[in-house]
């Protein structure tokens, strides 16, 4: 029996790339299709004003989605972000109305966000209570606190033009909230892509025990992402307050679901470990663009929700088919 030894041909880098980034490619394709479609259907859609508008509108969600990507990557979740936004938003209005200079108020608010996040992170990470329960309690508590602060009314922010500029101004033609969101996104991207901290987040989500065993400060890492989510929520609250010129306990209802939707649509897995910051940005913007496009197309409001849902489902489905094998169900997906 003669035996011949041959080596395998080297793998194709392109195919490896496509299969590795299938999910981002998928949402990117979908995003571009949306842009092209709405661009073709309406005149204004692709105008600079409108696009900047979309980014400005999406800014608070984007900011929180960046932090939420980190939270979800650790296999956690933060359901309280919407309530945190409402609480800080109301508190900011009250603080500024009470005469506290707005730069001071901003610092205070970010501190409050960090504190809220820290408490939640402590329960999740050091006390081992499921993130879903901790932040669901948070969802209830902070919304209630916001109600209590405002008694259900909205509080106008007056005489703080510098503050309002944060929500309404432009810098070099770009809306300030959009700029802030872009900065946050870039920071989030770099952290997750190329820093030890980002690596720790992924490791904790992929295999918490393994992360702990190699000596990573796993508990600290897990709690820290909730702090980031708190700070991001506070920042989003400030952007909203500045944009609306008021603080209200009713701000940001259902916000958490929008944020999580953007993250998950972008390919970050709720099971942890699998993450994509670019995907998050694309997912979030896609939802914003669909909302904007449907308004521009004058779709009857009775159909908007149906159409939005169907577009998302069908598009994701077609993309999944396109980049086959993109998503797998189950945890034991390794064959």
């Amino acid at each position: 029996m003669s035996t011949t030894y041959t080596e395998r041909v080297a793998g194709s880098a392109t195919r490896d790339f496509v299969s590795e980034y299938a999910q981002v490619l998928s949402i990117a394709t979908f995003f571009i299709v949306c842009l092209v479609f709405f661009g073709a259907m309406t005149d204004v859609f692709l105008s600079a004003t409108n696009l900047l508008n979309v980014v400005r509108q999406a800014a608070p969600i984007l900011v929180v989605a960046v932090a939420m990507t980190m939270v979800i990557t650790t296999a956690g979740i933060d359901l309280s972000v919407g309530s945190q936004v409402a609480f800080v938003n109301a508190l900011a209005a009250i603080t500024i109305s009470a005469g506290v200079p707005w730069p001071v108020a901003i610092v205070l608010m970010l501190g409050v966000g960090a504190l809220i996040g820290g408490v939640q992170g402590w329960f999740v990470s050091y006390q081992g209570i499921p993130a879903f329960i901790v932040t669901l309690a948070g969802l209830s508590i902070y919304r209630g606190a916001a109600l209590l602060l405002t008694e259900g009314y909205s509080i106008p922010i007056r005489g703080a033009d510098g503050f309002l500029w944060l929500g309404r101004g432009t810098l070099l033609g770009v809306p300030v909230p959009a700029l802030i969101a872009i900065l946050v996104v870039i920071a989030g991207f770099v952290v997750m892509w190329r820093t030890p901290y980002g690596r720790q987040i992924i490791a904790c989500g992929s295999n918490f025990e393994a992360a702990r065993r190699v000596g990573m400060p796993a508990r600290r890492v897990v709690s820290s992402v909730y702090v980031l989510a708190g700070v991001a929520s506070a920042l989003a609250a400030l952007l909203l307050a500045a944009r609306l010129g008021s603080g209200s306990s009713n701000a940001a209802q259902g916000f958490e679901l929008q944020v999580i939707a953007g993250v998950v649509l972008g390919g970050t897995s709720l099971m942890g470990g699998k993450t994509s910051m670019i995907g998050t940005v694309l997912g979030t913007l896609t939802i914003a663009v669909i909302g904007n496009g449907l308004i521009l197309m004058h779709v009857s409001p009775f159909f908007t929700q149906i159409v939005t849902g169907v577009i998302i489902l069908v598009a994701i489905w077609m993309n999944t088919r396109l980049f086959t094998g993109t998503w797998k169900i189950g945890k034991g997906g390794v064959q």
């Binding site: 400005r56 009314y153 909205s154 609306l244 308004i295």
Partner: protein, 284 residues
């Protein structure tokens, strides 16, 4: 102008008849005037209203009517529209001072007070313990609650307030618990359609029609039935269709370059057994 004018109506939600009636009225007025109407449903999210207005500004609509969720928060968008030369009118929720051309609708605080006064005049016993089913997440309904509570006549006490969250089934549970918690309570005030519907379902399903009288806002078929059966005593009924229509007419006048009244009042009616027949046609 070859293209017809386009007006936008920025709505709160579409889950209550109130808003849909308003949309219908606006649409009918638009059809009459030969203008186009686009409606946006914010699904209760304040900042979505601002986003929608910004989008309409970009698109260059000829006028915007808004039913604000957050009366202060909507102002930047109103100011932006004004700066872009687009007239804005406000419906129902009263906006703070600003560039809006008109305020259409009801004074919710006043109407709440009116209902309280009506109760004062028509009280059968000299004591009425009222439980309030509110919606803490609705600005307008908070105004109605406070308008009522602050102006309640002598002998009327508020024993408990619960939050129905503007959702019928939540309001139903809250109302049932309210009934259990306050055995001596003999009236319920529901500040909006879901709250009132929940209260009615609670009272009927527990068979408490005889000892509880219901007051509240917004007619529906069930409410009319309740009035007929006597346990729903009095309900504030607005004329949302007329509000919508007035808003579109006002916007059209403004687009013509003419002025409109700063306050266009669409009065409310307190519906009781005496005048309920006038409203039956709404639900046929």
């Amino acid at each position: 102008q070859d293209e017809p004018r386009t007006f936008a109506l920025v709505q709160i939600n579409q889950q209550a008849l109130f808003f849909n009636e308003m949309n219908r009225g606006a649409q009918e007025a638009a059809d009459e005037l030969g203008v186009e109407l686009v409606i946006f449903n914010a699904n209760n999210e304040a900042f979505q209203q601002n986003s929608a207005i910004e989008t309409y500004i970009t698109q260059g609509v000829d006028g915007i009517a808004v039913v604000a969720i957050d009366v202060n928060g909507i102002m930047p968008a109103v100011e932006q529209a004004d700066a872009a030369g687009i007239p804005v009118v406000a419906i129902d929720a009263i906006l703070p001072e600003g560039p809006q051309a008109a305020q259409i609708g009801v004074d919710n605080a006043q109407a709440g007070a009116d209902l309280a006064a009506y109760i004062g005049e028509n009280m059968e016993s000299d004591e009425l313990s009222v439980g309030v089913v509110g919606a803490l997440n609705s600005y307008i309904q908070n105004v109605r609650r406070d308008g009522f509570v602050e102006n309640r006549p002598e002998g009327v006490s508020v024993v408990n307030t619960v939050d129905g969250q503007n959702i019928q089934d939540v309001a139903l549970n809250a109302s049932e618990n309210l009934l259990t918690a306050n055995p001596g309570m003999n009236a319920i005030y529901g500040t909006g359609e879901p709250a009132l519907m929940g209260a009615i379902a609670a009272v009927t399903s527990q068979g408490r029609q005889d000892d509880i009288s219901i007051y509240g806002w917004d007619l529906t078929e069930q409410v009319i039935q309740g009035i007929d059966e006597g346990y729903v005593e009095a309900v504030v009924q607005q004329d949302p269709a007329e509000m919508g229509a007035e808003a579109i007419r006002a916007l059209n006048t403004l687009a013509d370059g003419d002025e409109v009244e700063g306050e266009i009042s669409v009065p409310v009616t307190i519906v009781t057994q005496d005048n309920v027949d006038d409203f039956r046609s709404l639900f046929e």
